[in-house]
């Protein structure tokens, strides 16, 4: 853009040639035009010229300012200023080069993917593995059933560890917390272990027995549940240990319900991660979730639970047997989580009874699982990094005035962010994605479904990275 300045003299010449009048006339006219405008402005009037704009005088109020050099406050006097507002015609003509651009709301699409979806990023991917993990766990559980009691004490360790590392389907909310804060949340860990243990003894003894295991383990943490908040439970349940049990029992078979609660949880967790001091708060939220689950349980399975209690009271002898099991389990928990030992020992004085020597082996299992997770994550990463070849095409589109790659992407892939792949496939025809000449034929490529998974925030993020790459370059 050349910044040549045109003087009044040149203006006069141009007017003269345009209307084929003498320069003298044009000059006189121009002079009188602006002196007329000036006079009108001095009178405080505004002057409106068709197809050009409006001149107006504006009073600028005196204001305070600071002398940059001395730092003292100075007052800038009020003054008059001529403002010129161009006519809409002129304004549009001037802005022609940028007329096609429209303001874009960013919050609609991009921002949520960073602020809200990001915390969830980890969950969907790990959950994908979880289906595999879940089946593994099932296998292990069936193995356990056939094994002796001592081995039972060992196997739960694996299952529990998996739960911790890979965010188990059944109780994701606990696990998310567990990953972040191992020490504080061992209370929850113990509870999760109950869930895992639960199915194991059942084949051997009666249905009521699992409950007996839980009682001693849960009892120390019982006070943390504000009883005032669960009056419904207390009406139905006589035993003081029962409430916690219901919550867990109920949450386990209903993964969907708990998971919906969890989706809001990671958001909080993401922040908490850095602030260890707030771990306590997270624990409290978990407790609230459990209570919510308990209330849910009492509504939907109160009758079932009642049967359970009665059954439980009858089988006193079974209870005695299972107490032994419970002690051994507790012993394991305290030994495995040495950080928490003090706390756990305090609450469970008879915990050190039997510590299986094979416990040492368990860490290796967990490491393998972690590797598993990273491998699957890498496969997606590899997919992103690998060079994309486009051989198959879904169709062709002719770019007309107003058509953009994003609109085509929206039509074919369901998400406008994936326009970058169309651009990649048509790089020979398109110089810059923002400047496509109308009439260009664009081939819409067939892209790997995993790349254009609009539900996967990572795909969106990748597309955005590519977007920045392509739009940024000139």
């Amino acid at each position: 853009m050349s910044k040549d300045k045109i003087s009044s003299q040149e203006m006069v010449e141009q007017i003269a040639t345009k209307l084929s009048v003498s320069k003298r006339v044009a000059e006189e006219f121009l002079k009188s035009l602006f002196s007329e405008i000036e006079e009108a402005l001095l009178k405080g009037e505004s002057v409106k010229i068709k197809n050009l704009g409006t001149f107006k005088m504006q009073w600028n109020e005196p204001r305070k300012s600071v002398n940059v050099q001395t730092g003292e406050v100075i007052i800038i006097d009020g003054y008059n200023k001529v403002t010129f507002t161009p006519d809409s015609d002129l304004k549009e003509a001037i802005n022609e080069p940028y007329a096609h651009l429209e303001s874009v709301e960013l919050d609609g699409q991009e921002v949520p993917s960073f602020e809200i979806e990001k915390p969830i990023i980890q969950t969907p991917e790990t959950l994908r593995n979880l289906t595999e993990q879940a089946s593994e766990i099932k296998d292990i559980l069936s193995e356990i059933q056939s094994l002796s009691a001592k081995q039972q004490e060992l196997k739960p360790i694996e299952t529990i560890e998996k739960v911790n590392e890979t965010v188990e389907n059944e109780i994701p909310d606990y696990d998310l917390i567990l990953i972040d804060e191992e020490i504080e949340t061992t209370e929850e860990e113990i509870k999760t272990t109950e869930l895992e243990i639960e199915p194991e003894p059942t084949p051997e003894v009666s249905i009521a027995e699992p409950e007996v295991i839980e009682e001693p383990v849960v009892s120390p943490y019982e006070p943390s549940y504000p009883s005032a908040q669960e009056p419904e439970k207390e009406e139905i349940v006589q035993s003081p240990y029962e409430p916690t049990y219901y919550t867990e029992k109920q949450e386990a078979p209903k993964p969907n319900d708990t998971f919906s609660e969890v989706t809001s949880e990671p958001f909080i967790l993401g922040k908490k991660k850095k602030r260890k001091g707030l771990r306590f708060l997270v624990g409290f939220i978990v407790v609230l979730l459990i209570i919510a689950g308990g209330i849910y349980a009492t509504y939907f399975s109160s009758s079932c639970v009642r049967c359970w209690i009665e059954y439980d009271l009858l089988s006193e002898t079974n209870r005695m047997k299972m107490n032994d099991y419970a002690n051994t389990f507790k012993g394991w928990f305290t030994s495995d989580k040495k950080e928490v030992k003090n706390e756990a020992v305090k609450s469970e004085p008879d915990s050190k009874i039997s510590l299986p020597a094979d416990v040492v082996n368990t860490p290796t299992d967990t490491i393998e699982i972690i590797e598993d997770v990273t491998n699957t994550v890498d496969s997606l990463e590899q997919l992103f990094d690998s060079r994309r070849e486009y051989d198959e095409y879904l169709g062709e589109e002719e770019i007309s005035e107003g058509t953009r790659l994003t609109t085509i992407a929206q039509r074919y892939y369901g998400k406008k962010e994936f326009w970058v792949y169309i651009y990649e496939a048509n790089r020979d025809n398109i110089v810059h994605p923002d400047r496509i000449t109308p009439g260009t034929i664009v081939k819409v490529p067939k892209v790997d479904k995993r790349l254009i998974d609009k539900k996967n925030p990572r795909c969106l993020q990748k597309a955005k990275e590519l977007h920045d790459l392509y739009v940024g370059k000139k």
Partner: protein, 94 residues
């Protein structure tokens, strides 16, 4: 003062018929527009200058809804008064 008033005043001042004044005025505004489109600065002696300026794109945040909006760049006509005019205006007010 609107367009018509301006024409009649100019006609009085220049002793030209209104139609001619109107033609001259139209020509002036057309030339101003053309020159601005070419990216030139139009300086009018003792009055001021017209210039096209580019307003860069920016991110605006709606204070109430917190919705962030990307405002695209645009070209605007900018008028800067000359110091002579400025002084005259201030003399009047003070």
């Amino acid at each position: 003062m609107n367009h018509k008033e301006l024409i009649s005043k100019l006609a009085l001042r220049t002793n030209l018929p209104k139609t001619e004044v109107e033609a001259l005025l139209d020509a002036t505004s057309i030339i101003v527009k053309e020159q601005l489109l070419e990216g030139k600065i139009i300086g009018i002696q003792s009055f001021g200058s017209f210039e096209v300026r580019k307003k860069e794109e920016r991110l605006s945040v709606h204070p109430a809804t917190q919705i962030r909006t990307l405002i695209p760049p645009k070209l605007v006509v900018n008028f800067k008064q000359s110091n002579i005019l400025k002084d005259k205006l201030n003399e009047i007010k003070l």
